[in-house]
């Protein structure tokens, strides 16, 4: 009887999948809460993205290393324990080195614990593959998530304030220019509308490619 040999996924496609084909926000529709909540400006969006990369990277490594020891009925508990530890470390690092950003992000840093991207990747990849594959998956997904947050934040910040990273790029009427800031883009309604339009754009591009 022939035994099936499962080949380890290739590293390049694993990494690239998180950036587009399996982008966590645009394709998997995961992590919607921080995507909508922290993308009013670039700085908090980038900070949140970096926190998620850190947590994904560390939790994928730990889950991968203990994957052969995991009991099936306790695996979710182990994943949550692992993720919660690294989120707490990330929160402390933010409070120590970027206290203003920690304040700006508020409860959304501790909420990374329940971000579905991280537990999804632990379950779908880290608990089933080797160390290098898990690391590449974490980096790909993390960078895909961060890139998405940054795109959304750039659009919202420019349209709501005329600035990017607080640096003026469009001259507003108050500054003697032509641009009238759209206050709504800085509010939840702007987040939903922008995300919806970007999702539609991604779907159109994907359909054309197919």
């Amino acid at each position: 009887m022939a035994t099936e040999v499962t080949k380890a996924p290739a590293l390049g496609p694993t990494f690239l999948a998180g950036l587009w084909k399996e982008n966590p926000v645009f394709r998997l529709l995961l992590g919607m809460c921080p995507t909508l909540a922290v993308t009013a400006a670039m700085k908090p969006a980038l900070t949140m993205g970096c926190c998620v990369i850190f947590v994904l990277f560390c939790s994928n490594i730990v889950v991968c290393l203990m994957r052969t020891l995991l009991k099936p009925h306790l695996r979710i508990l182990m994943f949550t324990l692992t993720i919660a530890t690294f989120v707490t470390v990330a929160d402390m690092l933010l409070k120590a080195f970027m206290p203003d950003m920690s304040e700006a992000l508020g409860p959304y840093v501790p909420l990374i614990i329940v971000n579905c991207i991280i537990i999804c990747r632990a379950e779908a990849c880290a608990s089933k593959n080797g160390l290098i594959v898990s690391i590449m998956d974490a980096l790909g997904m993390g960078l895909g998530f961060t890139g998405t947050l940054c795109v959304l934040a750039a659009i919202r910040e420019i349209l709501s304030t005329g600035c990017v990273f607080g640096v003026p790029v469009l001259k507003t009427i108050d500054a003697g220019g032509w641009f009238t800031p759209w206050a709504g883009m800085g509010m939840p309604v702007g987040a939903f509308v922008t995300l919806g339009l970007l999702l539609a754009l991604v779907n159109i591009i994907s359909k054309k490619k197919a």
């Binding site: 203990m66 324990l81 530890t85 707490t88 470390v89 402390m92 409070k95 080195f97 206290p99």
Partner: protein, 204 residues
């Protein structure tokens, strides 16, 4: 015995992982706590300086001063701001009260006799963005700067540029505006009483 063995077999990884992660967190806390506390102290100093621009140093003159409240025990530390010559400029203290979306924590400043308030700055708040979070904006905070000691009242309409005991509410954020006024009314009188008892200010 077999039940215990079964339990150990099922849960050993969980126990070992919990201990391991606990150690990681303890190490991170030990390494970062001094820096986090220094940041909190720096923030407090920055906020106090915003309320007392002439003050250079701030020191706690009364720890755990009791604040009179009908429902619970509240205490706060009172800081004294002094200039380079050691002259007292004013006092500041952290005050807290329930807001619309959660507790609001503010730093209240007053002059050296506590006859006049120098305003407040928000330490922490989770008020609704675009509405209640306008308590952090200068046009609302300026109403408290120079306000006389005494019970403050919230008004829905009025002139916010007039400095008196009447505070004009933020449009669409009456609860948050009322929360800040209520915090002042709860804390300021008790702090003044404490400072008079300590002999730091004249009671007359």
């Amino acid at each position: 015995m077999s039940k215990i063995l079964y339990f150990i077999k099922q849960s050993w990884l969980l126990v070992v992982a919990s201990l391991g992660f606990g150690l990681i967190l303890a190490a991170a806390e030990g390494a970062l706590r001094p820096r986090i506390e220094a940041n909190q102290q720096a923030k407090m100093t920055r906020l106090c300086k915003a309320l007392m621009s002439e003050a250079q140093d701030f020191k706690v003159v009364k720890e755990a001063a009791e604040i009179s409240h009908p429902k619970r025990t509240i205490t706060t530390n009172i800081l004294q701001g002094t200039n380079a010559q050691g002259q007292v400029i004013g006092y500041a203290f952290v005050a807290e009260g329930p807001g619309f979306a959660g507790p609001i924590q503010i730093v209240i400043g007053a002059d050296r006799t506590l006859e006049t308030l120098t305003g407040f700055r928000v330490l922490t708040s989770s008020e609704t963005p675009g509405f209640g979070d306008k308590i952090t904006q200068r046009y609302y905070q300026e109403q408290f700067k120079g306000a006389p000691y005494g019970t403050l009242e919230l008004a829905k309409v009025g002139n916010p540029e007039t400095i008196d005991r009447q505070i004009v509410a933020i449009s669409g954020a009456t609860v948050s505006s009322e929360a800040v006024v209520s915090i002042f009314n709860t804390y300021v009188d008790s702090v003044r009483t404490t400072l008079v008892k300590e002999g730091l200010i004249n009671g007359n």
